[in-house]
């Protein structure tokens, strides 16, 4: 029997990103995810958690292992109460940034995971939910 993981983490400072990545990696290892998918997942997590820190003023992360049929996966929800994103379609495009960065975080993260949902309301905050299936 595998015990399900359900953990809450808060992202307030740069250091929390490392803790968050480590927790996600542990969950991925626990369900037996291979090294390539593990690396893709923690890279996506790194992008989304950093966005939350930089643009969202910090936020919370809910890390869970999930099952669908025979597939096992890791699901992570990033939630902040920051300024929100005015135009999500734009933000999801390669190269779009309001900072001085590369603008690859959101679109790149979407390509690295199996499922990606984003919801954002200006003045309320941003929520991103991702799932990486073990063999996805």
């Amino acid at each position: 029997m595998t015990t399900n993981i359900r953990e809450q983490l808060s992202i307030r400072q740069e250091r929390d990103l490392i803790i968050c990545r480590n927790r996600v990696k542990e969950a991925a290892v626990k369900i037996g995810m291979g090294i390539v998918n593990q690396t893709k997942l923690i890279t996506a997590v790194s992008e989304l958690a950093r966005n939350m820190l930089i643009y969202g003023g910090g936020g919370n992360v809910l890390l869970e292992t999930v099952t669908r049929g025979r597939e096992q996966g890791v699901q992570i929800v990033f939630e902040d109460k920051g300024p929100g994103i005015a135009d999500i379609n734009k933000a999801m495009q390669d190269g779009f940034t309001t900072g001085k960065s590369m603008g690859m975080g959101l679109p790149g993260a979407r390509r690295l995971v199996s499922e990606f949902f984003i919801e954002s309301t200006v003045g309320i905050g941003t929520t991103v939910k991702i799932i990486k299936w073990k063999n996805g």
Partner: protein
């Protein structure tokens, strides 16, 4: 747990506190860490107040309910302050779990006519207090983790050595996360190393970097550009296969940089660039 029970518990605040404290004072582990039982009483009263204020018939069975956050924040604060006062994790856990006995005793006095209901509520309260204990435990762990990470940070700063591998070639292995502060150190050491050793090629080995996200990639690109400004070349080595795949999916173009899978192939490339050659020497076998 019914709303009525919650209300009754709130009314019994003082009584529950008395149960809790008297039992704490009798416990063998009631050490000398509190200056007086007044301190214990003040702290316990505050904690009990928050517990009773927070608990509802809904959130008692949902440890992830957002309205529990103030309670958990309080527990984290309490755990940290007790740790600083010298309480062990066991002492703090025992302290928190002993609240359960006091609450259950009060429950027994509130629900007198329905054993089923008493049983159900007892289980709920028990789990609820367990969860408070878990929060305290997690705070301890997180505190430890932060100490470890800050030590790792300090070590990282010390351990970005520039290694001269050949005349004109230096190398720097990076182990750990390449955040902004670290990049600054790496870049300074590497540029200084190039100047000091009059090298024309620098190898940056990232075998020990756990993940290359857009920020790390950006730092790498900046470092390479700075090295080029000095008139030297930079080779990035130690790109593991999973990192290569991830970087491609992320959509980052590292093709303008010279990248190699291993430090050995980076060294080979550098030697070729410097028009040097490593050959096996055939020894005379005269025996």
């Amino acid at each position: 747990m019914t709303t009525k029970t919650v209300e009754s518990l709130r009314e019994k605040h003082d009584l529950i506190l008395t149960y809790w404290i008297s039992q704490r004072e009798m416990a063998d582990d009631f050490g000398g860490n509190f200056n007086s039982s007044d301190d214990l009483k003040a702290q316990s009263s505050e904690l009990l107040e928050i517990v009773l204020k927070t608990i509802t018939p809904e959130n008692i069975t949902d440890p992830y309910s957002p309205d529990l956050q103030p309670l958990f924040d309080y527990i984290s604060g309490l755990t940290i302050s007790r740790a600083k006062q010298g309480f062990s994790p066991r002492e703090t856990a025992t302290y928190i779990f002993s609240l359960k006995d006091a609450l259950l005793r009060a429950l027994g006095e509130i629900i007198t006519d329905d054993t089923q209901e008493l049983y159900r509520t007892t289980l709920e309260v028990s789990k609820f207090v367990d969860n408070i204990g878990i929060t305290s435990f997690e705070t301890f762990i997180k505190g430890r983790e932060e100490v470890i990470l800050s030590q790792a940070d300090e070590m990282a700063e010390l351990s970005t050595p520039v290694i001269k591998v050949w005349d004109g070639i230096i190398a720097m292995p990076i182990i750990g996360t390449l955040d902004s502060a670290r990049t600054q150190v790496v870049m300074e050491n590497l540029l200084q190393g190039i100047v000091d050793s009059e090298s024309s090629i620098a190898i940056l080995d990232i075998s020990g970097v756990p993940a290359v996200d857009s920020l790390v990639a950006q730092h790498l690109i900046k470092t390479v550009n700075a090295i080029r400004l000095l008139g030297a070349d930079c080779v990035i080595s130690g790109i593991r296969p999973e990192i290569a795949q991830t970087v491609v999916h992320l959509g980052i173009d590292l093709s303008k940089m010279v990248t190699k899978a291993t430090l050995a192939s980076a060294l080979k490339y550098s030697l070729t660039t410097l028009q040097l050659e490593v050959r096996r020497v055939q020894k005379d076998k005269s025996n």
